[in-house]
Symmetry: C2
């Protein structure tokens, strides 16, 4: 070696302190009932495959840099224009753009628990986080939210990992109360939440973030979008990579977005399966938060009627040993006694319920 | 409006000052001979379409977050491992990661002229640029480069927009001379340059950046990569979006990368066409830099034997009026008397040469 370079010590100070986001486990091998990362159990619209195949012929050429057709289609759907829309390489990309543009002291605001990426994107920009803690009632404390004085507050609605949706009047109250931007992260809203998009007419301090990963079955394609005032979008565009969304992603997302019949049918199917699964969990006597998402957050009780972190961890391990993978968040008092179960196909949910019943019988 | 929000004034100071990157023009309508954005005139390997079609069935699921297979394949090709490789959503994404991790006062170093994205990514992170100016000889001044004391120096090799390649011994001299990181941006190296990748064995302060956009004909797919020490890559991974490269992009890039016969044939074809085009420009009596890229940078002379900014601009306009689109960079004394012409198909180059001859005849 003619020249050494100690990369970590030469990185910027906030990078040295950074902890990377840990995505959900992607198990290797076959035979898994995978209910841990909130993927849609159904494939995307068949129009996606057609659109992708048609676009392959154009891959030697750069994409349209602004995703103009997709922006226009999305804007029109929400009674807005393409100037009110930005497309990201996944909604994570958009959360990063928002942070880079607008977050400064005292850091980004967020609720605890919520999406664990917010601390990561804040840290990537050298910013901290200001927490607003939920209690078990999962009531949104609008005054606490405003008191953070965060320049940007990230609010996941419906919440993850609990699945609880906050009513529109609370979102509006938050928009009234805060001085900065409210980012309403609606990754799961299509499964029963009420979108804040209609509030964009009245509130320039609102950004609504959406994704094609869940309700459009395109997690593998990385397309998200945000709706906001044209001036907010124009600022975000300043830090967007000029070609941040590739040709195939633009074409696939547009095809999925325009197949509204398929979208509606799959969404209803997931919600119906959720209702059946929830009824079965109620039958076990487990507390489960009301869900407006494609997952259920449930507090298992063992045969002795006990709940708590050890019980939840035991069920998680029991299920995993039987190749049923759910998600367990041990680190927070509000989550450590629960497991989060993605809504899969009816057969997958039956496998989960059968294994859970077996755990109950064997406890 | 119940709440106004003046987004620009509320953005962070460095964002308010930011000027967005201006990509090359993408003309609307048919009939254009498009020689302005250095796209490959030939489509990607037919294996790409097969790989893409196979991957569509998996789009409901998240991608493998680290692009592990692609990293391993690239690492092996260069006598390295997957830990020496990072995959980006285009190489622009990687330039941004490098900047976020390592650039601080006095800003990023770069040569002038070179890739106009460097000032943009530096500005996105609130950092400035330190210039090292070329003169017409396009000789690399290694001492000037070291004297910038930049924590990161971006060196495009071969240079854009001139096409000039710098010899390996100068790259090594730069690695010796500087204290920080040297980023050798080899977007065009497959068209006749010498890669610095072999220097990675000896220099931990080297990052080699590559793209699938040019030599692999995948500009529309957005895949780039960097080669560096495992410790440098591990730092860059800290600010990489967990799912920055989608399933189809990973599959398409791997298929293109593995079809080495096709890659070699297309690369040779572009270089042969370049030699023929260059000979024709020599026949016009125009000065053209030696090119190790898929473009030529030439200084047109009109029929009266005059050259200069007005002559170059006149030729650019004349060609554009005839739907032959090349690139003109009016803002720098070293570029303003030149046009940059991408190497297209033989027919496209003939159209360019015929129109240029017509311009000469009509001047």
């Amino acid at each position: 070696m003619k020249k050494n370079f100690d990369a970590l010590s030469r990185a910027r100070a906030h990078i040295q302190d950074l902890h990377a986001y840990v995505p959900g486990e992607q198990p290797q091998g076959d035979g898994w009932v995978k209910l841990n990362t909130n993927e849609n159990p159904y494939p995307p619209s068949t129009r996606v495959a057609e659109a992708v195949a048609a676009e392959v012929a154009n891959l030697r050429k750069y994409p349209e840099p602004t995703s103009a057709r997709l922006r226009a289609a999305i804007g029109e759907r929400y009674g807005l224009t393409g100037q009110n829309v930005i497309i990201g390489n996944g909604s994570d990309n958009i959360l990063d753009l928002i942070t880079r543009c607008f977050v400064s002291e005292p850091g980004a605001g967020h609720t605890v628990p919520s999406y664990s990426l917010y601390p990561v994107v804040a840290g990537m920009s050298g910013q901290g986080l200001v927490d607003v803690d939920f209690d078990r009632s999962m009531t949104l404390d609008v005054a606490a939210l405003a008191a953070t004085q965060a320049k940007v507050f990230f609010l996941t609605n419906p919440n993850a990992p609990t699945g609880v949706a906050f009513p529109q009047r609370q979102i509006e109250a938050a928009l009234q109360a805060i001085d900065g931007l409210l980012v309403v992260d609606e990754a799961y809203v299509d499964f029963g939440g009420e979108s804040a998009a209609s509030l964009l007419q009245d509130y320039e301090n609102l950004i609504v973030v959406r994704t094609f990963s869940k309700s459009y079955s395109l997690a593998g394609m990385r397309v998200g979008f945000a709706l906001a005032s044209a001036t907010v979008i124009a600022v975000l565009d300043r830090v967007r990579d000029a070609y941040n969304v590739d040709r195939i992603a633009q074409a696939a997302a547009l095809a999925a977005f325009e197949d509204t019949d398929y979208f509606e049918a799959q969404r209803q199917k997931v919600m119906a399966t959720r209702a059946e699964t929830r009824a079965a969990l109620d039958g076990f006597g487990w507390f489960t938060y009301p869900s407006a998402t494609n997952f259920l957050f449930t507090e298992p009780k063992n045969a002795a009627g006990e709940s708590g972190p050890e019980v939840a961890a035991d069920l998680f391990d029991y299920l995993k040993a039987r190749r049923v993978l759910v998600r367990y968040f041990p680190k927070h008092p509000l989550t450590c006694a629960f497991i989060r179960v993605t809504i899969g196909t009816d057969a997958e949910m039956q496998a989960f319920l059968t294994a859970s019943q077996s755990w109950l019988n064997n406890a």
